[in-house]
Amino acid sequence: MEAWIFFKRTVRMVFVGTKVYYLWCAFLLAIIGVGISFYAKQLEAGLIVTNMTDQVSWGLYIGNFTYLVGVAAAAVLLVIPAYIYHFDPIKEIVVLGELLAASAIIMALMFVLADLGRPDRFLHIIPVIGILSFPNSLLAWDVIVLNGYLVLNAIVPIYILIKTYFRKEPVKKFVIPLVLLSIPWAVGIHTVTAFLYNGLAARPFWNASILAPRFLASAFCSGPAIALIIFQILRKTTGLKIKNEALFKIAELMAYAMFINLFLLGAEIFKEYYTGTIHLEPMKYLFQGVHGHHALVPWIWSAMAMNIAAFLIFLIPGTRKNLVTLNIGSLLIILGVWIEKGLGLIVPGFVPDPLGEIYEYLPNINEIAVSLGIWAFGLFIFTMFMKVAVPIQRGDFVHSKYDKAAIKPQYERIKP
């Protein structure tokens, strides 16, 4: 009975909102629509509609996948500073972080699906029904840890929200172990994803032990950067109580993470350039171009500039503790790491190919449209999550026996 009331009220809440909310949703739905139409074309004609070839056989899809796994991992890792520094709204941050992680994982899985040639054969990868080559294939590991992470990050916020809806305290013995488990698991998903590339002797650019640590360092930057922006939007639109000090603390941690990221990159650059073996070639292609091919050079240098600028912004207290510069820094990191951990990581793995051939890859309109569609879908479901989760957390949306005015909840201040 209460479930039915909950459902009815949820539906109403999702469908009722401010003008900005409607515009935002319409905008996302339009992009999703375009993405679906391009994906339909890809399903019909095959992956030939992309710019991928036998030389560069992974591209924008797998780049986005890698980046989003990092975002998903880092969203949960935000829980650590929330505990250590006793941020006021810990429960809110846990719920927000885990819902952000869940959205990012869903996007990441959709990117794998978009890259898959035969999604019609998905049953083959389901254990028991199909054959999952565990533990031999790192991709099998990734399927397991990512789906497990998704489940974990769905259970915790749903549980906390339901308890809050019933005006009951979450049972700590149940929820704390799950939250604590999700922290090493977050490290796990990004490590496994790094090992996916790392374990290939055929690709010297990836076959460096520094890859997994670098993945984690850059994820510690990009994930919190997205969270910083989202926290501020929610603070403005929903009255989520989060202090500036908490934001500045996160920014400070990001500066350290970015320092480690840049340091590890420097270590890698030194080793490759100073030894100067033939394995330098992919890195040279990325940073300088080889034999007149330099499609990625402007991208990686913009990423470098953005990452270094953001590092300085977050390092210097004056700019870190100013919301305007803080947001500029966050945007720079989001974009900079996206380039570095997206195309900047995937494409040089394939250039030159194992027989020395150079194929210059940049994504085409089809790949861009499908990718934007997936991003829009992720933002859309995150918006929906927030639309329901925030009123519950604020206490506006509770069990009908507590709420006399249940039929008229307040929506006005709710935005993504």
Partner: protein, 289 residues
């Protein structure tokens, strides 16, 4: 969520392409290595009917197993190769590779400047002179090296590719999900992908095929050299060996002490490509002169 979206996709896919009985059977088909003999027979019958409908040609699809006591090995004499690429085209014809969009080839012949053999960074893939050989250059054909320790097989998340008892690395085209992890893992560029529905002129189709070898493929699956499994398991040489005008290519049973390949390994100075990666190829390059 993933399951749901995948399910929707599958439903859409099956729905749009005339959901016939064959489609359903194909959808539910097992991995080749898990099929019983009866299931194999059913699958072969269905495939032969499908090919007949699609191409108007009667196919003979073999599922012949590896024979005991055989481990296939390949020898390639770099001092004889003139870079004519006859092997490439013989292979394409024998093995029903897509001709255009995408143009797939299982053998890649690279041109190397004399004095630079191991550094493939300077390999030329699209050399196109009036006549070959050219002074100052040598040629190195590369194809699947049929590693004893194949990285492509290890990475496949669903065991759609494996090493047969006679050492041939094969793909079940009906099991492959098209993730292309194997392509990323192969150090020899031994695998190519059907980026779209393969395009082969019907009159050029080879109808004498093996299930794990040269039967026509479908879009978005990976494929590779199988040492012409359809030929070598019937006592014939691979098509590339037959097509070579200079006797560059040698083939035989590594377990037979009297085979030509064993003679070459014991008496010539052989090497294997990228031996440092421990993939243990069964493809031996050598110089006879």
């Amino acid at each position: 969520m993933k399951m749901m979206s995948m399910g929707t996709v599958a439903a859409l896919y099956l729905g749009s392409s005339a959901c016939t009985k064959d489609k359903v059977e194909e959808f539910l088909q097992k991995n080749f290595r898990e099929m019983s003999e009866t299931e194999k027979k059913q699958v072969i019958r269905r495939l032969e009917e499908t090919y007949l409908r699609k191409y108007g040609k009667k196919f003979q699809i073999s599922t012949k197993r590896a024979e005991a006591g055989i481990l296939w090995g390949y020898g390639l004499d770099l001092s004889r190769c003139i870079g004519c690429r006859r092997c490439v085209y013989a292979c394409v014809k024998e093995n029903n590779q897509s001709r255009v969009n995408p143009q797939l080839q299982w053998i890649r012949v690279v041109r190397l400047k004399k004095g630079s053999l191991i550094n493939l960074e300077n390999a030329e893939h699209y050399y196109n002179p009036e006549t070959v050989p050219e002074p100052g250059f040598m040629y190195m054909p590369v194809q699947c090296q049929h590693c004893e320790n194949p990285p492509c097989v290890r990475v496949c998340p669903i065991k759609a590719t494996w090493k047969e008892p006679d050492g041939i690395v094969v793909v079940d085209y009906n099991w492959c999900i098209g993730c292309r992890y194997c392509i990323a893992a192969c150090p020899y560029k031994g695998r190519v992908f059907n980026w779209s529905e393969p395009n082969i002129p019907v009159e050029e189709l080879n109808t004498d095929v093996h299930y794990l070898g040269n039967r026509p493929r479908m879009k978005n699956v990976v494929e590779k050299c199988t040492f012409c499994v359809q030929r070598v398991r019937n006592g014939r040489y691979p098509a590339c060996v037959e097509a070579c005008p200079t006797g560059t290519r040698k083939f035989g049973n590594l377990l037979d002490p009297n085979s030509e390949i064993r003679y070459l390994i014991e008496n010539k100075r052989v090497f294997r490509l990228k031996e440092d990666l421990n993939t243990e190829p069964k493809f031996y390059y050598f110089f006879s002169a």
